[in-house]
């Protein structure tokens, strides 16, 4: 694919992020309606309105592209290019007024994530990752930081309540194997991993809307991402995600996550 196409897609993604951010910032100022989805997770009218706004931009600029969004039915999932969107990643922090929630936009070609955008409406930060290019934060290149071993790593995970009886051991082992832990950072903590402020992040119950946008962002900053078996992440990957700024920490983390 010519580079120019990818640039046009990136421009579209930034338009989507900007429009989503305007909606979310406005909505965050007041209470909103919440309902419970079939899988037990909460969703707000803001999630839906934001996804609709993003979908409208895709339909207008790239009518031949497919869309897989978290809140609405799929559109042309077999198209060559498919957008994967999570209008508000971190719905719980959003409900709680904690500004670590953001909009995730990914573009895949086949099974390969080409483009990822993490937009943080409350902090005014946007990360853009493109396959084969340097990741940018507000237009400035970012890099992950070197970390030689897991015992000196700063780790992050979102919410311990998402860990079931089979997974909680992995979380406990990682807490013991690392130096410090931060919780509840949602997509923001992975963006900060790409920026060299966090060394290793992992989550369970993560679906493609949660992680595909993170893949180009982290890889383009020099980091490593995979499922918990070390496999690459595509549209058919499972629900486990692990990312590290330094390959050595990623290798060690895979071993510790799978010890049980």
């Amino acid at each position: 694919m010519p580079d120019s196409h990818l640039s046009v897609f990136a421009e579209s993604a930034e338009m989507m992020a900007a429009a989503a951010g305007d909606l979310i910032r406005d909505a965050a100022e007041r209470p909103f309606e919440t309902e419970i989805k079939g899988d037990g997770s909460p969703v707000t009218d803001v999630d839906k309105a934001t996804e609709d706004c993003i979908r409208a931009i895709i339909a207008e600029r790239h009518p031949d592209h497919g869309i897989l969004g978290e809140e609405r039915a799929p559109v042309s999932p077999d198209a060559e290019f498919v957008w994967i969107i999570d209008p508000i990643d971190g719905t719980l922090p959003f409900l709680a007024g904690i500004p670590v929630f953001g909009t995730l936009i990914a573009l895949v070609q086949g099974d390969t994530p080409l483009l990822g955008v993490v937009d943080m409406p409350m902090t005014g930060e946007r990360w853009v990752g493109q396959h084969g290019k340097e990741t940018l934060r507000n237009g400035v290149p970012v890099r992950t930081r070197a970390c030689s071993d897991l015992s000196s790593a700063l780790m992050s995970t979102s919410n311990q309540d998402f860990y079931g009886p089979d997974d909680i051991g992995a979380l406990t082992r990682m807490k013991e194997a690392t130096r410090l832990a931060v919780y509840g950072g949602s997509c923001m903590s992975y963006a900060q991993l790409a920026t060299g402020r966090i060394d290793v992040g992992f989550d369970v119950q993560f679906d493609i809307h949660d992680y595909l946008a993170l893949v180009p962002v982290i890889q383009g900053a020099g980091g490593v991402v995979s499922d918990w078996n070390g496999g690459p992440l595509g549209v058919t990957s499972g629900d486990r995600f692990v990312a590290a700024g330094d390959k050595r920490v990623h290798t060690e983390a895979l071993r510790v996550l799978n010890q049980g």
Binding site: G97, P99, N159, V182, G184, G185, Q192, G196
Partner: protein, 264 residues
């Protein structure tokens, strides 16, 4: 009580200092880097506290000051300012916006002004005894809840609750909420005052600079805030000024339910 309005004004000046200096280090400073031991962060903490202390001692030389970084002076004064220049240092160091400046004024040990300043989002929650709590200048109120099962609960991180023996109420309380959020830190207390969060649980072994600011903020929004035994939080809470844990609730009835569960 002397000139409460003047004290509030100076509280805002302190929060302005915190916002400006924390943002400079966090948002605007592209070169901001944290070593793995977090040391540059401590420098920012110290610089903010130093600047705030200077304002206080210039304006009110007779007031006492208790700060996280530089200890205490004149704690027996009628008025004591209680400052945590950056609450949530780990968040600050990792680039997460879940940190803030906590500023409080205590009168005869009782917190009468509380300010939760959130520099990244440019949000400020202000509580003044006898007045409605404000968020960015607008009055806010906690929301009513009839039971714990309707509540959004904010918890720091699992390991903070494991230091007290016997196992504290945390493990009994956390499964009873509708949802828990982790790592929200001081932001969650502002959210509680705004009616976005219903319970904040924090422990253990906390110092006055960890909680004094929350007292006027939560009470002025109609909520309740005590230690885990239901006792009032003050500058002299508990032996050697430490409290074993903080429980804040938007709904007073829910607060009673939560205290009973912790005490079981």
């Amino acid at each position: 009580m002397h000139d409460l309005a003047l004290f509030v004004k100076v509280g805002h000046e302190l929060a302005d200092i915190g916002r400006k200096m924390a943002r400079a280090a966090f948002v605007d400073g592209a070169a901001f880097q944290t070593k793995s031991d977090g040391s540059p962060v401590t420098e920012v903490d110290q610089a903010i506290e130093k600047a705030m202390r200077k304002v206080i001692s210039d304006r009110f030389p007779e007031h006492g000051i208790l700060g996280e970084e530089y200890g205490n002076s004149d704690l027996d004064s009628e008025f004591v300012w209680v400052i945590d220049p950056i609450d949530g240092t780990k968040s600050f160091a990792t680039g997460l916006p879940t940190f803030g400046c906590l500023i409080s004024l205590c009168h005869n040990n009782v917190p009468v002004i509380g300010i939760v300043e959130l520099p990244v989002a440019e949000q400020r929650c202000v509580g003044v005894v006898g007045q409605p709590t404000t968020f960015n200048g607008k009055p806010v109120h906690c929301r009513p809840r009839t039971s714990l099962s309707e509540c959004v609960m904010s918890l720091s991180g699992p390991e903070f609750y494991k230091e007290t023996a016997p196992r504290p109420g945390f493990e009994r309380l956390w499964p009873q909420s509708e949802w828990n959020v982790y790592g929200g830190g001081c932001v969650a207390y502002a959210s509680l005052a705004r009616g976005f969060v219903d319970i904040c649980l924090e422990g253990s072994n906390l110092s006055p600079f960890d909680f004094c600011a929350y007292v006027p903020v939560i009470e002025g929004a109609g909520g309740r805030i005590t230690d885990w035994h239901g006792e009032a939080l003050s500058l002299r809470a508990g032996p050697d000024t430490r409290a074993r844990g903080v429980l804040a609730s938007g709904d007073p009835g829910v607060h009673e339910q939560a205290l009973r569960i912790i005490a079981e």
